[in-house]
Symmetry: C2
Subunit: 359 residues, 2 copies
Amino acid sequence: MNEITIQTSTNQYDVMIGKGLRHQILDFSPKLYSQVLIITDSNVEPLYLADVIEAVKDAYPVSYSVVPAGEGSKSIQMYYDLMTDAIETGLDRKSLIIALGGGMIGDLAGFVAATFMRGIDFIQVPTTILAHDSSVGGKVAINHPEGKNLIGNFYPPVAVIYDVETLHTLSDREVRSGYAEVVKHSLIHSSSFWDQINQIELTESLNEEALTDVLLKGIKVKAEVVEQDERESNIRQFLNFGHTLGHALESELGYGTITHGEAIAIGMLFAIRVSEKTYQIELPYQEVYKWFLKNDYPLQLPNLSIDKLIDRMRRDKKSNNQIVTMVLLKNIGEPTIEKLDEQKLHVWLKDFIQELNRH
Amino acid sequence: MNEITIQTSTNQYDVMIGKGLRHQILDFSPKLYSQVLIITDSNVEPLYLADVIEAVKDAYPVSYSVVPAGEGSKSIQMYYDLMTDAIETGLDRKSLIIALGGGMIGDLAGFVAATFMRGIDFIQVPTTILAHDSSVGGKVAINHPEGKNLIGNFYPPVAVIYDVETLHTLSDREVRSGYAEVVKHSLIHSSSFWDQINQIELTESLNEEALTDVLLKGIKVKAEVVEQDERESNIRQFLNFGHTLGHALESELGYGTITHGEAIAIGMLFAIRVSEKTYQIELPYQEVYKWFLKNDYPLQLPNLSIDKLIDRMRRDKKSNNQIVTMVLLKNIGEPTIEKLDEQKLHVWLKDFIQELNRH
């Protein structure tokens, strides 16, 4: 088992990564609780809910809520229904919520924990590769039809318990979605990390040792950044590399049509192109493009309104005074933040989508 | 003008109390913003909204949202509508929300600020006596049909700007409601503070000097407590004196039927009775009762189910493992926290309501 400790402004918590940890959740729980509510989704329920219930039921009264799988559940209605569940099942301030699932569940259950009676403890038990990113850093949120994660808190879990066995049940699409964030961590971190990722074929990569290594590296990159800037006032924004266009694509296409990872894969390619144009440099666009291509990321887009996409990008949380702000690269491992001229952006985005669709 | 600085776990903010401060809001704003959204209610709008707009409009783009007056607006639907307003008006992370109104507005607008893009700055501009309590201490929340303030955060404002001129427009009922929290602060603080309050006739008390003095004292009591225990793990619960039954009455009678202050006035009387019985002591119940009576607090209750009230009290945020927990007094100025036997509580509550209604 591997362990990484994350410092927050007010606290610290451990990320445990290992085989079969879902059976030992209480070994990593930092204190005693009055009761446990497990929140999970309809994909994860048949696979791992029974294991987690088994692991806590002798110590605490336990109840659970299952929401439909998919980003659509990060809605105000689902949030409110979970609050009602929590109240009706008798949760109090000394109770614990376990978020069992991928990033959607971590965000949704985390926001329930953050705001139930003004905040109770929660433990993340991620079951996707994507969640290596979202489970670290304390961001919790739900979506608004006008944009992703617009309603939320900074609210760290008391522990992250990452059972790599649960990753075997991921579909290829989920593996791809998760690896996109690993690619992001590598591109903002260093050439050597990117070179390592560039060797990986996703179809072969799921042996536990290699996977644990990549997850550990990704989590460390993320931890380093969030420890320096928990509330995203400056460098934490680097983690948004690929996300400005990525989020806009997710909203515009409709959550669920495209996975988060597929969207930010395209977002990163665009950010690399914008970086090349802004700084008049050459970056390994083709290398990154080819890696996504060989690993079957969908890299073509339907007919979209450039104006609407830019309008969404303008409403991104990084933007300020309605000016589109993107994370760019001066080199692999050298992220920067830039405000962009909207007219140029319009041309670049149009060209970029045409370029993608020509292939 | 008087000023009190409140320390929080991560920050500090100032409470300014004085005449006409609503015209000078930006003088007390700690930094620059991209845009301002004022959230107020239908009672306050015709009285003070124009003044506040006037005070900020030269410095920033300003927009406003008006919600219906009354506790009913602390709902998930109103919260969500305000989020939509904030997004549509183009608020970003560098924007400011001004909560112009009483406790309801502070709680609601504060929770919007706490969760909009994971938290933006907000300034409280209280316009009621009751808000001397709610505007200090960083509690923000909305209600759930199952209980008050069940959904919320600890999220302090960046400043509280208390213009005592705005208190002249309060109805007698609002004055009573606000003074109930002053009574609470006095009872948990000291005999001398209670003796001072005991001299006051509410109909005469609204001269600005006396009022400022009482508000300052109340705010200081509150600040002392919340600085020691921001997240209500122990002594902050003292501020819930009178609130266990008070909240249950508000929920059971329906928010708006009884004001918050009227409910906690009855809740305090009950807490005094329970204290007397639990500790076998005598407290100035009659003195407090007479003060409420002479100041026209409604002290009779309709026919209510004792079981339902106790069920609500059990779901109070102080309770733990579903055991009703109340703040009691060992003496004036000596609050304690006790878990209560439900059978005894049932008898005492029934007797208490009968005693009230006999008068």
